[in-house]
């Protein structure tokens, strides 16, 4: 498939906790403002609901065919929309999800695989975990969706790398922390910038990061939304702690050049990973007849 340029808007929002109507209104306004000038808009993690939901998780959950989502689906005829919500599955499970809307329908739903359940987080109590990293083939390119902590685990980016995804889309709600000198800035944000840059470089991909701002019961969210090209240069970035929007064009020529200069995907040997994994995942080893490797 010939790659095209993708005009992008990254929304940095401050969702109202548990207020679906207010947040939907904000989504519709931002989508309306972006439509026409952009092909894709990315919102932060749980952008339709807010983050520390606890017992509200069930109350704000939506099935993908819920009538409440119709206005947003309608808008997706003019612009593709990736947004965060609580998905109620057919089986009744609740997922921290990123919906990808295009041409008036759900093209994909990514369910957060790596729920965070340590320190100030308790997602494993409130959500079911997703099980897969599947590249979304959109009319505007091939996108690898992630939700926040997914990025800290290599199989996410690696799966999208094997799929030759054009861009990784990261929706995040990252608590702002670490104000110690000399900085500069939040320690949490500096860590994210390293992680985003490393991902762009290691996988030669565009990286799009939408991160929320605002406060929920004394916990602030760090923002810092940005778009990195495959050389890890920031093409656009929001440094403050205020809501806002970024625009950038993901240029297909840059992607092609970066991958020709350093053909990491061409030279990757995924079968080596499969062999090594067989030592750690017994069933995989048995299937490959390589269980003996475990004792080498």
């Amino acid at each position: 498939m010939a790659r095209m340029d993708c005009r992008l808007v990254v929304a940095q929002t401050n969702p109202a906790l548990g207020d679906l109507r207010a947040n939907m209104e904000d989504h519709l306004q931002r989508v309306e403002a972006a439509a026409g000038a952009a092909d894709l808009i990315l919102f932060p993690e749980l952008s339709l609901t807010g983050y520390f939901l606890r017992d509200q998780v069930d109350e704000v959950a939506l099935a993908t065919d819920d009538a409440f989502l119709r206005p947003l689906l309608e808008k997706s005829r003019r612009i593709s929309i990736a947004f965060g919500f609580v998905e109620r599955s057919r089986e009744g499970r609740l997922y921290n999800a990123l919906g990808f809307l295009e041409d008036g329908r759900f093209l994909a739903v990514h369910r957060k695989v790596h729920l965070v359940t340590y320190g100030l987080f308790d997602e494993g109590r409130d959500f079911a975990a997703g099980e897969r990293f599947r590249t979304i083939t959109s009319r505007h390119g091939r996108f690898g969706p992630m939700i926040c902590e997914d990025m800290w685990h290599m199989p996410s980016a690696y799966s999208y790398f094997l799929d030759d995804a054009d861009a990784i889309l990261v929706a995040s709600a990252s608590p702002a922390r670490g104000v110690d000198a000399p900085g500069p800035g939040l320690a949490s944000q500096r860590t994210w910038n390293v992680l985003l840059s490393a991902t762009a470089l290691l996988y030669r991909t565009w990286v799009v990061y939408s991160s929320r701002v605002g406060w929920e019961d004394g916990i602030g969210f760090g923002g810092g939304s940005r778009v990195l090209d495959p050389y890890a240069n920031a093409r656009a970035a929001l440094e403050g702690l205020e809501p806002g929007a970024l625009t950038a064009t993901m240029d297909s020529a840059i992607l092609r050049r970066a991958r020709n200069e350093l053909p990491l995907r061409r030279d990757e040997k995924p079968w080596i990973l499969a062999t090594e994994l067989a030592r750690h995942v017994p069933l995989l080893g048995a299937l490959r007849g390589e269980a003996a490797l475990k004792n080498e």
């Binding site: 109202a16 906790l17 548990g18 606890r54 017992d55 104000v179 000198a181 000399p182 004394g218």
Partner: protein, 273 residues
């Protein structure tokens, strides 16, 4: 440079956002701050001024007949510096109407009564002013339990609760508060000649270094001793933290039903805000 040093400009920006949003969550945009003449309340008043504007911050001076006159004059200095409206409410009659007939001489009991009288006035004024009571307890005090429960420990929100005293001083200098207020010895001024450090038996400089390792970095007693802290000091401070945990949590509710407030009725205060 100390390992406890913060980036004051970043902290001020975060705390302004915190104040605006959490007060906004209550549908309000004004604050009430009790000014003691000390550095903590001065920093909180300055942050509130940045967040809401001077005309939306009510500074309240709450002297008792035995309070040091220095406290009032330093509070006045802060008020002038920030251009705030200040209300003065002498709590002597209110406190003495209970303390005197009951002949309460115990310093601790008297101090607690004064702190709780001040709380009553601040919360009452918050209704008239249509603003929230903003707390001034810092992380050092909160961890040591050096406060009166439901007295100075009562507030609607607190911007200083995750800053050690050392860090509050740093913020005070960044906010360019009057030197007199920054340089004086910290005191609750609940009885004559009282100073925090005299009463606690150690300095904030010492205890901040210890608490930072104990709490933020989770050092063990052995690791702290290996770093040169006296074992008795480590144990004394660790015991103070444990013994005062009741001041840092909501009181327990006996669980009886299937779903109980305080246990498994899990909503943030910012519920639908």
């Amino acid at each position: 440079m100390s390992e406890l040093d913060i980036q004051p400009a970043l902290v001020a920006e975060l705390l302004e956002g915190f104040l605006r949003e959490e007060v906004g969550s209550a549908g309000l945009e004004r604050a009430v701050v009790g000014l003691s003449g000390g550095v903590d309340s001065a920093v909180v008043a300055a942050l509130c001024t940045r967040a809401f504007g001077a005309s939306n911050v009510l500074a309240v001076l709450l002297p008792y007949r035995l309070s040091s006159p220095q406290s009032s004059s330093d509070a006045e200095l802060v008020r002038q510096h920030l251009g705030l409206t200040m209300k003065r409410c002498d709590i002597s009659a209110m406190a003495d109407s209970y303390l005197e007939p009951e002949r309460i001489d115990d310093r601790r009991r008297r101090g607690n009564v004064l702190a709780r009288c001040r709380m009553i006035v601040l919360y009452d004024l918050s209704v008239e002013w249509k603003g929230l009571v903003v707390g001034t307890s810092n992380k050092s005090e909160i961890l040591l339990g050096y406060s009166t429960q439901w007295g100075d420990g009562a507030y609607a929100l607190n911007p200083l609760g995750d800053l050690y005293k050392h860090q509050v001083y740093q913020l005070a200098r960044f906010l360019e508060l009057p030197e007199e207020v920054i340089d004086k010895s910290p005191s609750a001024d609940l009885f004559e000649g009282q100073t925090d450090e005299g009463e606690l038996g150690f300095t904030y400089a010492e205890v901040d270094r210890l608490l930072y390792r104990l709490v933020d970095r989770r050092y063990s007693e052995e690791e702290l001793v290996a770093e040169g802290f006296a074992r008795e000091f480590v144990r004394r401070v660790a015991d103070m933290v444990v013994a005062t945990q009741f001041k840092r949590v909501a009181p327990p509710i006996a669980k009886l039903s299937r779903r109980s407030v305080g246990h498994d009725f899990r909503y943030l205060r910012d519920w639908k805000r």
